[in-house]
Symmetry: C2
Subunit: 174 residues, 2 copies
Amino acid sequence: MTPYEAILGKRDTRAFEARPIPEETLHRIVQAGRMAGSAKALEPVRFVVIESQAQKEALARCGGFTPHLPTAAVVVALVLEPEMGVVGAPLTHFRGPFDAGRAAQNMMIAAWAEGIASCPASMHHAAEAAKVLGLPEGYTVANTIAFGYPAGTDAVRPNRPRRPLEEYVHRERW
Amino acid sequence: MTPYEAILGKRDTRAFEARPIPEETLHRIVQAGRMAGSAKALEPVRFVVIESQAQKEALARCGGFTPHLPTAAVVVALVLEPEMGVVGAPLTHFRGPFDAGRAAQNMMIAAWAEGIASCPASMHHAAEAAKVLGLPEGYTVANTIAFGYPAGTDAVRPNRPRRPLEEYVHRERW
């Protein structure tokens, strides 16, 4: 699988087999996230890797669209350092979540290349999610990603169509 | 190059050759960004693809760390739909920039796999950047990405070391 094939083929998937993810595969996924670049090389993103059923279920209670979290083999919570995820200066505001998105995509593409599907799940109740994860004061959850071997039709379905390219792309100016 | 090799090898690069990026390669880069998933499949990210020197220089005047923008073959501005990039509800606040980060990383990995380097550049003066790009009311620039064939040592330097994995990764809880 070429990088381009992995990028285009990867689809957000919510149906997983019960099969666990081998530790060395999980290591590569996390490593892919760690190696994403960040604004001014500040590396504001941290990961909490969750495999215990109790923690997955506790996190699932912190979001509105999370029924897939407890069925995932692994959930990775992307955590932002203080001042990188809070409402504040416009740049701070963008940078943390943007860098978290870069790290998340690296992990999801690396996983997909090894046959592992994934899907982010927002934490609508961010303060409760921080409590579940035991985050220090000021740290925030940017997002969580569920990883697992895909089950059923989710494994083979074609990707959801996107808006036409002409709507996405403007040249020189809007 | 495997997807994992592309992800680990990709480094943020600011020194570019004057060589242009072929249109079909640019198409694949943009396509990679378009195919990134988004929260609730809202597809809040749009691209403005900039090749004219005047527009690159105008954008460079909107950021604090942008000397590489005018030397890039192509600059892609990632634009967020209204309500997706503004300070507001915590989730809205995270989602837009997070999804922009996912799209940006897809583009940068796809580019790297074809020998093209890249580096984001924040728009510190977001309102001016919106004016340069002619964005409609309410649309915001999440970030810009400079793309080009790497020049000099930036092409071969090893990646900047990251914090140790143990600092990045917690298991089950912080």
